[in-house]
């Protein structure tokens, strides 16, 4: 209908069928959804956010505020809020309009428009306060119900996203004439160049520059040649459909490349790719955005940007109307008028400037024009213009506006470069750099083609040179244009003869912010542009004020009697255009969200039906249910087996650090609370490590392998932290010490064999080490072999039973485990998991860092004062223990709790109060059913707890209290007789 034959970059021989709101329509390959709709005469594409006013397509690309659609591709692939101007058409594209009920044409929320005078900016701050309870019950639910634009998808997105790091000497953002010439010049020097452009085809404004020539070639042809040259160079990465969305510190730019959305069907590869590009120099050639005009009723469908209309013509061969009125405050409006006219469209041009430059134009020009309003409900049908003292209504099917051009300084400003007000361009332009970057061409306010090309060559050369690459001299391409961009422009609201308090002249289309909203804000004392933004929400919509910011700025300036440059502008933030969450999240999902760390014995545990728990990044077997056992049953069985016979436990996740060097013992002395000098070779000791503030950081057993060699263990979660702490002290406090640390966590697989039969089971396997009771007493460490593998054996016990920890190189872990398993089975040995381990150690009153401690617990609180080397003058954290709070008598101390009813299980975390209630005295840190004791057991931290041993307290629970007696934390085998089997 509105498609002009043989025009544009669309393929007139390749029709594509698509649907919009269920209507089947036809477009062409090379169309955007917007151009295809326009070709079908469709302007009405959306409803505004607040007033639900009918809205049409306003722009032609990233600045579109109105025409937001949801594209549905099936199978969870539903994407809301896409500007139709950026959706590339493909066969069978399905799109729906948004924010209307039931249809675009008849939207019941358009009632808001009629109530509009009572819903000015910020009205919600002034009302909905009475009666008080109505806010949460009535008002807010209703407000929320009408909020939002598109609908979030309900199914998980099946598409893939990926990430890539890239490095280059020169990154060029924007592939218009400025960007292409910069990239070409820089690339010829041999340096690495990345060029990205957010449009489907590189070329920028050249693609629609119908009448311009460069070096004798048509503009498009020149662009094609430039692109072909760039594509052929191995040092160039040319990325179309790639938006540079964020400028981050130290010249890191975030780019989002769209790989799948323009293609029909399921994407074969990732849908989008996120690039983190670190560039030595950045050239911003992002062009300029045309500014709309603020006049009464400037939001009807069919009212759009003049250059957008020109682009639809030149890129897509689409006439946005048959009879158009172009309202312009800038010479560029004439260019659009000429090109539209030449395509056979009837054009009237209304120039808002007083003395329109005398030109010989083949169309009517109305100088000194004032726009009084427009008509038309679902499509503009007429515009009223007053000029030379009379008012004239002109019927039309489209109104185009051009207020001048706003350089796209988004990225430059994000980089924290400074901006200066350019009175001629009537916009802010880059003035100073904070990073190694520069802006060129229209982005720098230099709007003429020749300037863009010259800027590009210079910037490309400079950037390459700065990166140490000598550029080959390339002559600046010579440009000629039929219509230069010219001058002019206006910002702010256009004057008109109507009561400004009554008209709706839109500044921010999507958020329904009008000039009078901004006036209201300034009237109410919101003078800062940041306040105006927040009070009116101007510039906060999905286009982030690409069209509105300068106009709202100018209105604010006018209202507050300040020059525009004194008002400043709101902060530019990433992203330049919205970026898909998935692209930012990348491949990280499910088991790639974080690494899943598994021990060498993991597969065995899986085969045995183990249930796992997450501990840090590790998967640890929690218990090994048999048949229909639940956790409690399995844990009971495992606990009984350990004490009755033997248990096998995978402790491979324990952190391990090999500490080597002549000063190793000195180092440990300074670090741990314990004394290490006299630890004999072949012996182990339980060590406690404090933070410098005196609280427990970690614990673990440390064995001495040689005078200068220790094998230290840490908790699973503490491994990295402890190693980092050790390195910190070594490197920065005591660099004189001769000590070296090596993480061996993953070198050694650790198999704990615990229980009365432990020695019997291990003896046949261990070689080169006498593990008899006398030769290898509790807290021994020794080396030998087992099943042909190197063995580091520790005789330690976290269960209170006779126990060994078999350390073997990880590649042997599974085999050695199986070997022990085979021998142990006939003796009743069982595999036990972390849950049984917790129960067994709790029976013994052994703490778990992170469970009994929480970063507020000292060694003394935890009952570990015995570990502190009494004669040591200093160790990390010691001085802090002398602070008043550490000596307070009411510190919480570790105790055992015994419920009066042995079957009653306390809840971990439950609060402990006095026998008659009152404030909290502490909490239950661990609580289990102990099969070995035949009753429940618990550990707790209780204020002054040790002195309360034998007293009765209560554990406060919702249904009343549970009475408990305070006991010693060691509940099982208090004399430790079982350690020796």
């Amino acid at each position: 209908m509105f498609r002009l034959p043989k025009r544009g970059l669309v393929d007139h021989g390749a029709p594509l069928s698509f649907s919009f709101d269920g209507r089947r329509l036809t477009g062409l390959a090379g169309d955007t959804l917007a151009s295809a709709l326009l070709a079908n005469g469709v302007h009405l594409t959306g409803r505004s956010f607040k007033y639900h006013r009918p809205r049409g397509i306003l722009g032609a690309w990233a600045d579109e505020p109105n025409a937001l659609v949801t594209v549905i591709r099936g199978g969870g692939r539903s994407t809301p809020n896409l500007p139709a101007t950026q959706v590339e058409l493909f066969e069978n594209l399905v799109a729906f309009s948004q924010n209307r009920e039931p249809s675009l044409e008849r939207d019941r929320w358009s009632i808001n428009d009629r109530l509009g005078r009572f819903l000015p900016a910020g009205f919600y701050y002034k009302t909905f306060m009475w009666p008080k309870s109505f806010w949460s019950r009535v008002y807010e639910p209703r407000i929320r119900a009408v909020a939002g634009l598109g609908v979030a998808p309900e199914q998980a997105d099946p598409d893939r996203y990926e990430h890539r790091y890239a490095h280059c000497e020169v990154l060029v953002v924007g592939a218009g004439p400025a960007g292409l010439s910069a990239a070409l010049t820089a690339a010829e020097s041999g340096c690495r160049v990345v060029v990205c452009d957010d449009r489907p085809l590189p070329g920028g404004s050249l693609l629609s520059a119908a009448s311009a020539t460069i070096d004798g070639l048509g503009a498009r042809e020149w662009a094609d040649t430039a692109v072909a040259r760039l594509s052929s160079m191995t040092n160039v990465t040319l990325l179309p459909r790639t938006t540079a969305f964020g400028y981050y510190p130290h010249n890191l730019l975030g780019l989002c490349e769209r790989l799948g959305d323009h293609l029909p069907g399921e994407p074969a590869g990732p849908r989008e790719r996120l690039w983190s590009v670190r560039a030595a120099r950045v050239i911003l050639a992002t062009g300029a955005l045309e500014r709309p005009l603020v006049f009464p009723d400037n939001d009807r469908p069919g009212i759009m940007l003049a250059d957008a209309a020109r682009q639809y013509l030149q890129l897509h061969g689409v006439a946005v109307g048959r009879r158009v009125v172009i309202v312009t405050a800038h010479d560029a409006g004439y260019r659009s008028a000429h090109e539209l006219h030449a395509a056979g469209i009837q054009v009237v041009l209304a120039d808002t400037r007083p003395a329109a430059i005398a030109r010989s134009t083949p169309f009517r020009v109305i100088p000194d024009a004032r726009i009084e309003g427009t008509r038309g409900t679902l499509r503009v049908s007429a515009i009223t213009i007053s000029h030379t003292g009379r008012s004239e209504r002109i019927d039309c099917d489209a109104v185009l506006m051009c207020g001048g051009f706003t350089p796209s300084i988004h990225l430059a400003s994000q980089s924290r470069g400074t901006m200066a007000w350019d009175a001629e361009v009537q916009a802010y332009v880059p003035a100073g750099s904070a990073e190694a970057e520069c802006s060129i061409g229209a982005a720098a306010g230099r709007l003429e083609l020749a300037d863009a090309l010259a800027d590009g060559c210079r910037a490309g050369r400079d950037a390459a040179a700065a990166a140490g690459f000598a550029a080959r001299r390339i002559g600046t391409p010579r440009a000629s244009v039929d219509h230069s961009v010219g001058q002019g422009g206006i910002i702010g609201a256009l004057p008109h003869g109507r009561d400004p308090a009554k008209v709706k002249a839109f500044v921010d289309w999507q958020n329904d912010v009008t000039a009078r909203d901004i006036m209201l804000a300034t009237r109410e004392g919101f003078r800062s542009i940041e306040h105006v933004k927040r009070y009116t929400t101007t510039g906060m919509a999905t286009d982030q004020g690409k069209l509105s910011n300068l106009n709202s700025l100018a209105i604010t300036a006018a209202q507050t009697g300040r020059p525009v440059e004194a008002v400043g502008f709101t902060t530019f933030r990433p992203p330049y255009t919205p970026v898909t969450f998935g692209a930012l999240a990348g491949a990280a999902r499910r088991d790639l969200f974080d690494p899943v760390r598994q021990t060498p014995i993991h597969d065995w545990a899986v085969a045995q039906g183990a249930v796992f728990e997450d501990v840090g990044l590790w998967k640890r077997a929690r218990y090994f249910p048999r048949a229909s056992e639940d956790m409690q049953a399995a844990v009971n069985r495992e606990c009984l087996a350990v004490r009755g016979s033997a248990g096998l436990f995978d402790a491979s996740t324990l952190g391990k650090i090999e500490i080597v060097g002549a000063d190793a013992a000195t180092f440990l002395n300074r670090l741990y609370v314990n004394a290490w000098d006299r630890l004999a070779i072949g012996r182990c000791r339980y060590g406690v490590l404090l933070r410098e503030d005196g609280f427990i950081l970690d614990d673990g057993v440390i064995g001495r392998l040689a005078a200068d060699r220790f094998h230290a263990t840490t908790t699973t979660g503490g491994a990295a932290r402890v190693l980092a702490t050790m390195e910190d002290y070594l490197q920065t406090e005591w660099p004189d010490l001769d000590v070296w640390l090596t993480s061996v966590t993953e070198q050694w697989s650790v198999i704990a064999v615990q229980g009365p039969h432990a020695r019997e089971i291990l003896t046949p396997l261990v070689q080169g080490l006498d593990i008899s009771a006398d030769a290898f007493p509790h807290m021994s460490i020794g080396e030998g072999t087992i099943c042909g593998a190197a063995l580091r054996l520790m005789r330690v016990s976290f269960t209170g039973e006779l126990g060994f920890e078999v350390n073997v190189p990880s590649s042997h872990g599974h085999a050695v485990w199986e070997a022990i398993w085979r021998i142990g089975q006939p003796l009743g040995m069982t595999a036990y998991g972390t849950e049984a381990m917790h129960v067994l150690r709790a029976e013994k009153g052994y703490i778990i860092v992170g469970q009994e401690t929480d970063g507020t617990v000292t060694a003394d609180d935890a009952g570990l004062a015995w570990a502190i080397g009494k004669t040591k003058r200093d160790f990390v954290g010691k001085r802090s223990l002398a602070r008043p709070a550490m000596k307070a008598p009411d510190r919480k101390q570790l105790v055992g709790l015994r419920t009066l009813d042995p079957a009653k299980l306390l809840e971990e975390g439950a609060q402990i109060v006095g026998p008659d209630g009152g404030p909290s005295l502490g909490h239950v840190t661990s609580s289990y059913y102990s099969a070995n004791l035949g009753r429940s057991i618990a550990l707790a931290l209780v204020r002054g707890g040790r002195a309360l041993e034998g007293h009765r307290l209560r554990v406060a629970m919702p249904g009343g209290g549970i009475e408990v007696d305070v006991t010693n934390p060691v509940l099982f085998d208090p004399k430790g007789k079982r350690l020796d089997g």
Binding site: P249, N251, R416, Q731, T732, E733, P735, P884
Partner: protein, 94 residues
């Protein structure tokens, strides 16, 4: 993601590093000689300057060394990078 000049490895991306807070706060050689005020200040008080900040970093996923940077906390611009044990280069007031 900052680009951090490790004195051993050259420029490397921030994600390889861990941050260690203000630099040049040496652990007192004999802590017990400090009163609670001085000890408390050692533990917790920080300059937290807005401007050139001398700070500790560790090239955790690189050479694993601790080192110091002077970084302007108003801009994140890095002014100097130097090894532990070497004096802080003179930083001109900005």
């Amino acid at each position: 993601m900052l680009l951090i000049p490790c004195p051993y490895c050259g420029n490397r991306p921030e994600i390889e590093f861990s941050y260690g807070g203000q630099a040049h706060i040496a652990r007192p050689p004999v802590p017990e000689e400090l009163d609670d005020d001085a000890w408390g200040a050692f533990l917790y008080a920080r300059d937290n300057v807005r401007g050139p900040h001398r700070e500790r970093w560790r090239h955790l996923h690189g050479c694993a060394r601790f080192f110091n940077l002077v970084r302007d906390t108003r801009t994140d611009r890095i002014i100097a990078s130097y090894r532990v044990g070497t004096p802080c280069p003179r930083v001109e007031p900005l």
